[in-house]
Structures are given as C-alpha cells and as structure tokens.
Symmetry: C2
C-alpha cells in the first residue's frame, strides 16, 4: 500500500498484457509439448534436472530446490510419473526420510526427444521477437522483481 489505490492507465495496460501473454505462452508451449511428445510442462520441468544430474539421480529435496516446487506438488507429480514409468523412487541410504529419484531409460528418451521441439517453440514465440537488449532488460527486471518477492506473505 504505497501509492494511490488503483493502477493508472499505463500500469493497467502493462498488467493486462502481461497476464494475457503468460496465459497464451503457457497454452501454446504446453500444447506443443502435449501434441508432439505427450507430456506436460510439469513432466518437462521434472525431467530436465533429472536428465542433467550425474547418473540421472537426485534426492527429492534437491530436485525440489532446483525447480522451486513445494513438497506436495512434487510428490503428486512424482507418483504420476512413476506410474507411467518415466522415473522411479528408491530409499535414501543417508536419510531414511528422504528418497532418491531416478530417471528411467524411457524417461530419458522422452525428454531428449522433446527438448529440441520445445526450445524451437520457445524461439518461435519469444526469442525470435526479442533483441539482445530486450533479453538483457527483461532479465534485469525479472531478477529485480524476484529478489523482492521472496516467497513471502500476502
């Protein structure tokens, strides 16, 4: 509660375009993933760090930290993906509470087949329309906003 109480014309216009762009982009990119690879953006988010990890294994805790998810969301997602054979869990020797998440061969095959098309779609929808300066500016602003929204209250 720092200023007036409403958004002015410029702020409102930016806000609406941002909200709408986010929706259209996620719709477009999720649709592309679903059609071309039969996977969701959540599947993709989980498989990327797993495929890049040594031996394709990560503690649940470490996986969560890399993609900034909460426990519950990841747990549900892991269960669904395990049922489809994309990964499997094993007890963790160090800490009996934790579990190790392994990517399977079919999980690795899936993400490797999906990645190029997904990146291409991101290029088509976003980076083809941004200059280097745009990318630098957006990075600056996004990281500034991230720094001031530390998963806090309200």
């Amino acid at each position: 509660m720092t200023e007036p109480e409403w958004l002015d014309e410029h702020e409102g216009r930016m806000w609406r375009s941002w909200v709408r762009l986010n929706h259209e982009l996620t719709t477009a990119l999720n649709g592309q993933l679903a059609r071309e690879s039969g996977m969701s953006d959540a599947d993709y988010a989980v498989l990327v760090p797993l495929s890049e990890a040594p031996d394709g294994v990560l503690r649940s805790r470490e996986l969560r930290a890399q993609i900034f998810w909460d426990r519950s969301r990841l747990s549900h997602q892991i269960r669904r993906m395990e049922q489809r054979g994309l990964l499997h869990r094993e007890p963790c020797p160090d800490d009996a509470r934790s579990s190790m998440v392994h990517i399977t061969a079919s999980g690795r095959a899936l993400i490797e087949a999906a990645a190029p098309g997904h990146v291409a779609a991101a290029r088509r929808h976003v980076f083809d329309h941004l200059s280097d300066d745009d990318v630098a500016t957006l990075t600056l602003i996004f990281e500034r906003l991230l720094a001031s929204t530390p998963t806090d209250a309200d």
Copy 2:
C-alpha cells in the same frame, strides 16, 4: 526453428527467471486473494468485467472476449460461481443459444471488497519496483510478443 537449437546463457537465464517469477507472482497474488477475500484469481477475473458492465450483465460471449478465455473454462467457472451465489444465468432473448450472466449483490460486494487489497498486493510485488520507463518498456515488449502469438498452432 530459426536459430541454433538451444538457448544461450543469456536466453536461458531470462527464461528461467521469467518462469519462476510468473509462478511466484501468481502464487503470492492468488494466496492474497484467497486469504483476504476467499476468492480465486479466476473468480476475480470474471467478476471484474461483470461489475464494470452496465447493469452488471454480460452475454457469455462478451465476457469470454474480455478475459480471453475459452468456452469450456468459462462454463465450468460460471457454474461453480453460480453455486456460490456470486452470479446467475438467464436465457438470452436475442439468441436462444446464448445466455446472460448477471452479477449478484453478494458478487458485487465481494469484488468491491477484494479489489483494493488485490491492487495493493500488485503494487507491493510489482509496481513499487518498476520505474515509469520499466513499465513502458515491458508494455512494448509484451504487446509485441502478444501480436506474434495469435492463439495459433504449435
């Protein structure tokens, strides 16, 4: 498919910060709405145009156009909101396929109570950290990207 096949360091950094920022912002703002007003962002999105419409009435079709939703999403949402008494539907005299969506008194009371807090949260999380130039730059870029993502294929 215009360039290499992967994102370079700058693009990847921007992409990750964007995705994460979107998630943190929507989480923060949805949580604020839920806690302070007991409503979802979807409720808010529907109630805003309704409360601003003459007599608090819109054809379903017009409501859809204003918030850029598809039929199914709006239909489900309207049904849930009608059950909670936030709005009600009536047959449309002009076109028997269509229906008129009316905001109720309690729907109007809810949105009017919720709006100031929601705008304040948007300020706290976003606009307090943006200069006028930032807002102008972001608007330019977002609208450019929107123009080149016309709800199309892939």
